[in-house]
């Protein structure tokens, strides 16, 4: 099971999680568009995730949940 679950259909692609991630493993899915018309955030390399939840702490839309 993945550590970081992003509800991509509600993500607005603001990128605050990308800025907050200490491992820099979150990016914008440039080739995907959700129902709201945004490019959502995706986790690029889950192996490196340390479950610090910094991304979820900064997410203004509360679409990220984190597991360890």
């Amino acid at each position: 099971m993945s550590k970081v679950i992003i509800q991509t259909d509600l993500c607005k692609g603001c990128g605050l999680c990308i800025e907050a991630c200490p491992k820099k493993i979150i990016g914008i899915a440039k080739h995907a568009i959700n129902a709201k018309g945004h490019h959502p955030a995706v986790v690029l390399d889950e192996e490196l995730c340390i479950s610090c939840a910094f991304c979820a702490t900064m997410c203004p839309d509360c679409v990220i949940s984190v597991q360890k």
Binding site: K12, C14, L16, T57, P60, D61, C62, Q67
Partner: protein, 248 residues
Amino acid sequence: MKTVFEKPKSLSNVPLHYCPGCTHGIVHRLVAEAVDELGIEGKTIGVAPVGCAVLIYEYYNFDMAQAAHGRAPAVATGIKRADPNNIVFTYQGDGDLASIGMAETVHAAARGENITIIFINNTIYGMTGGQMAPTSLPGQVTQTSPYGRNPSLCGYPIKVCEMLATLDGPEYLERVSVHNVKFVRSAKKAIKKAFENQVNNKGFSLIEVLSTCTTNWGLAPTAALKWLEEKMLPYYPVGVYKDRSKVQ
């Protein structure tokens, strides 16, 4: 697997209408987390302002009322006095609290009304399209100050926490920010303490949260957080401005 972070239970499943990167969402979540942790969801009543956060009543699972522009502290006073067992908070922006609602705010503070106010300061009128607010910084470009705010013409910004700290009524006044993880965590502590004060019948608490307005500042979400840190923090220093529990 253990859950490290999930959506607080008090927050409803309605998607937020705010612009991408708007820190309103972070503060909404912090309020919901504080309510959840104190276990007061069943008796909490919020008062919505006029402004971007006018639809806040959609986003919580507890009861909400909606006040006329700036009158949220007066409405909250009524709700609290009608049944003091309720935990009553208002959530207001700077156009609502520091401009049209200044009288209600100051008098609620002076009376030491046992309510909690969450005050979002983003130095601009957001919903109405980016006009100059009482909190706009000197030199800040807005729709109604296209050459920058000129203090000799428009006066100086109002520092709400400093001003209310001169009154004897308030119990707890703190200014916090949400521009990075560290500041979000201290904002969470401040908001929780403000609710705790009310649970313990201590009196008026106001938390001023420095916030962003990406659309009306004309900046990308991450650039807006940087602008907050570089421009707003020096003018609006974070910290505790009044805490009666610390004074002997």
